[in-house]
């Protein structure tokens, strides 16, 4: 009882702090390699949040108000579901479902619906184009993610994330299935449309699905994307980096460190990889990355038969 309360509290804390951590780390990653730290690294995110809160909320002509206001909150809720699936230790976990790997897959699938809804409900051209783009790309991310995650679940012989961690006692999945984590990171950038895969909310669409959103709901949308990135990092750390496993430190600290590592890696990739054109991105996903995920799955299957 105490542990489930503690894990729920942990989810809430990450929900509250996640966006700030992501914003600070993103600024650090962007400026630190150039040797010049921006002066507003620590206060910049807070002042932007305060500025957004005081902004007037934009209205378009005849939007679907309910869906438009609901979509950012739903995306945040999906991110919270993802956070609730991350096991902090063998017992400290908010929802220890026997099919938690599949539930994470559903979070990715439902995110497609929510992002489409966000762009569609504004009843404006550029958001709608962004929404369509995400659907076209999101279906390919979901497929890659599915195969890679089945690969991670194979050695555990279970769809439960705690079992997936337990199966990495001798060897982490990142070594056992070397293709898994790189492919999964691509899925993470796609799911949160971050960095090179920011095609739904990209600047060539003047902000894409969020082009017409301002004020508090813009803040919720940006926070939701950041929390989704954190939740994704937590799942990646669990499925490929051994979750709570590690010497000397207690389990939850290891999960935190690994999550922050994946997060920093994603933000670094987001800052330093070039952007891909949407058409090329679809080609890349279906012709290169999807066959690679098949290879990953076959690899995992052969290893599981051997062992």
């Amino acid at each position: 009882m105490i542990e489930s309360l503690a894990s729920l509290l942990m989810v809430l804390v990450v929900l509250a702090l996640g966006p700030y951590v992501v914003a600070v780390m993103d600024r650090l990653v962007a400026t630190a390699p150039r040797g010049a730290l921006a002066s507003d690294v620590w206060l910049g995110p807070l002042s932007r949040a305060a500025w957004l809160l005081t902004q007037h909320a934009n209205a378009t002509e005849a939007p679907d108000w309910q869906a438009w206001r609901l979509a950012p909150a739903l995306y945040l809720a999906l991110a919270a579901v993802g956070l609730a699936l991350v096991p902090w230790s063998p017992t400290l976990i908010a929802t220890d479902l026997v099919t938690s790997v599949v539930l994470w897959g559903s979070v990715e699938a439902l995110a497609t619906v929510v992002i489409f809804l966000h762009g569609w409900s504004a009843n404006a051209v550029l958001p709608l184009i962004g929404a369509y783009r995400y659907v076209a790309l999101g279906l390919s991310y979901i497929l890659i993610s599915m195969f890679v995650l089945i690969g991670a679940a194979l050695p555990a012989e279970s769809l439960q994330l705690t079992q997936v961690v337990a199966s990495q006692e001798s060897l982490w999945n990142v070594v056992r299935q070397p293709l898994g984590l790189p492919l999964f990171l691509v899925v993470g950038l796609g799911l949160t449309f971050w960095g090179p895969l920011n095609l739904a909310d990209s600047t060539d669409l003047a902000g894409g699905t969020a082009a017409e959103v301002s004020g508090p709901s813009r803040l919720v949308w940006e926070c939701a994307r950041a929390v989704m990135l954190v939740a994704f990092s937590g799942i990646a750390a669990t499925a490929f980096l051994g979750g709570w496993l590690g010497p000397w430190l207690p389990g939850p600290v290891w999960v935190l460190l690994k999550t922050l590592f994946v997060l920093a890696l994603l933000l670094w990739l987001g800052q330093w990889l070039p952007r891909v054109a949407p058409e090329r991105c679809v080609t890349l996903m279906w012709i290169v990355l999807l066959p690679l995920s098949f290879v990953d799955l076959v690899w995992a299957g052969v290893l599981a038969l051997w062992a």
């Binding site: 005849a62 679907d64 869906a67 479902l97 026997v98 099919t99 599949v102 539930l103 897959g105 559903s106 990715e108 699938a109 439902l110 497609t112 619906v113 489409f116 809804l117 569609w120 009843n123 369509y132 659907v135 076209a136 279906l139 979901i142 769809l159 949407p278 058409e279």
Partner: protein
């Protein structure tokens, strides 16, 4: 099966959600909203399945239906007038008959549920539903499961054949013309004669 009062409350709320969302599907002004209402109904049913300990099936409902309804919403916007729901929309025929048929179906099925007696044979203790489903699918019922896979493959091929641009007898949209602006008038939106052929510009619409 024994369960707590919270399960009953959750079931009641989810049941109301499933029925109301299912009813709203046919009462909303936008096709996109209609398909997402249907998705809500599916999600509520999936959650009820999870309450019934069918944990894999419930979660499978979530992701299967999320993708299916997403595709459905896209087709809605492509084919239907009034995708954004700016105008009232009520496209029905044989309305009274349909209402009667729906009500009759409900009452017959409800009467069957209420007045027939089913064996009370609940889940045995210690059953792992996900494991038992997996062993069934790749064990005794493997033929059924694999047949479903083959049928899905055949569907994919059939769908590509049906909807592909080029068939054995030429382009698929050859001879297809949009309706005229007035009844019996010239097709709308056609390029003037002598301009470049219109068929190929279709490829550029998808971006």
């Amino acid at each position: 099966m024994e369960h707590s009062i919270f399960v009953d409350i959750a079931f009641l709320l989810l049941a109301v959600l499933a029925v109301v969302a299912g009813w709203r599907v046919f009462r909303t002004d936008s096709m996109v909203r209609a398909s997402f209402f249907l998705l809500v109904s599916f999600i509520a049913v999936g959650a009820i399945m999870m309450l019934l300990a069918a944990e894999y099936l419930g979660v499978a409902m979530f992701f299967m239906m999320a993708v299916e309804m997403m595709v459905m919403a896209l087709f809605m916007v492509m084919f239907m007038m009034n995708p954004a729901g700016l105008n009232p929309m009520m496209m029905v025929h044989q309305h009274r008959l349909s209402i009667i048929a729906g009500a009759v179906a409900f009452f017959i099925l409800a009467a069957m549920a209420l007045f027939s007696s089913f064996p009370a044979d609940p889940l045995p203790a210690g059953l792992d539903p996900v494991r038992s489903l997996g062993h069934e699918m790749l064990g005794d019922s493997m033929l059924i499961f694999e047949s479903a896979g083959i049928v899905l493959l055949a569907t994919m091929i059939g769908v590509v054949v049906l909807s592909s641009h080029r068939g054995r007898y030429g382009a698929a949209e050859e001879g297809s013309v949009p309706p005229g602006l007035e009844p019996g008038g010239d097709p709308a939106g056609q390029p003037e004669k002598g301009e470049s052929e219109g068929g190929h510009e279709h490829h550029h619409h998808h971006h």
